[in-house]
């Protein structure tokens, strides 16, 4: 089981209470699709994804970004049972969506960067570290049911 300090627990709750899901979710997914173009392979039915402008203006990307960010809510509410919380989603990403789990790490990095652009210096090294630790647990959990 993952051990969390009080600072880490407070930081995670604080981040998710303050971020605008409608901004950060789309921003994170957009960055992932722009910076790591191979991730577009999973979104064949999303229409125009051929360059940064198309991706940034794509409504399906924006909506999916919000959905993905809300997908982290269960981890925020259940920090002591993150792996169990993602069993089903992990199976789904493996058996139905066939997503290479190494890409979860890339999306997580893009999420940290999206928040950094919003928060500036308020996204301190300590806050970043807590957030990256949280994301790495989620990433691990999402990959846990692959076989």
């Amino acid at each position: 089981m993952v051990e969390w300090t009080e600072f880490e627990r407070d930081t995670i709750k604080d981040i998710f209470s303050k971020i605008d899901y409608d901004v950060v979710g789309p921003a994170a997914l957009t960055r992932c699709l722009v910076v790591y173009p191979w991730t577009r392979r999973y979104f064949g039915n999303f229409g125009a994804l051929y360059n940064a402008e198309a991706i940034m203006g794509n409504e399906m990307v924006a909506n999916h970004g919000k959905k993905v960010l809300h997908g982290l809510d269960r981890a925020v509410k259940n920090m002591d049972h993150i792996k169990e919380s993602y069993c089903e989603l992990s199976q789904l990403h493996s058996d139905q969506f066939h997503v290479d789990p190494d890409n979860f790490r890339l999306l997580a990095d893009c999420l940290a960067i999206a928040i950094a652009t919003q928060w500036g210096s308020a996204f301190t090294p300590d806050i970043q570290a807590a957030f990256q630790k949280f994301l790495s647990v989620v990433v691990f959990s999402l990959g846990s049911q692959y076989h």
């Binding site: 722009v34 940064a52 960067i113 652009t117 928060w119 090294p125 300590d126 970043q128 570290a129």
Partner: protein
């Protein structure tokens, strides 16, 4: 690879931020040490506490090397030869750490630039730092 537009974006960012080279470099290092404590093992001979003189001077050194490299990306292999040798034979840094530093440098740039660090800038910088890291690790084995 990097398009002409991407190269211009990269040069513009490094040039504009050069006056803050020590602060940005130091912050990127500090972020890396905080998120990835294993990276501190390479700095046991320095004082890497926040705002220390060592951290600022080392941060500046790295920033300026990255800025300089961006001016002539086509010849990174030649221009980085001395740094390649140094990192491979003397420092012997596990190459995965270059990725960790690159990520923290990008987070630092995002904090400084806010929305001006657009997805296109982000992509260009990520590609440049990957190329730089790859060249740096070329001589390892």
């Amino acid at each position: 690879m990097l398009s002409k537009q991407e190269k211009e974006l990269i040069i513009e960012i490094w040039t504009r931020l050069t006056p803050l080279a020590d602060r940005i470099g130091a912050e990127a290092l500090l972020r890396m040490f905080t998120s990835y404590p294993g990276t501190k093992t390479y700095f046991s001979h320095l004082d890497i506490t926040p705002r220390s003189a060592h951290l600022l001077s080392h941060g500046q050194k790295i920033f300026l090397a990255l800025a300089e490299g961006s001016k002539d990306i086509a010849n990174l292999m030649t221009n980085l030869a001395p740094l390649q040798t140094y990192h491979a034979y003397q420092l012997r840094i596990q190459p995965n750490n270059f990725k960790l530093f690159s990520h923290c440098m990008i987070v630092t740039l995002a904090c400084f630039m806010g929305d001006r660090f657009t997805p296109s800038s982000h992509a260009a910088m990520d590609k440049y730092l990957s190329a730089f890291s790859a060249v740096l690790g070329e001589k390892f084995r």
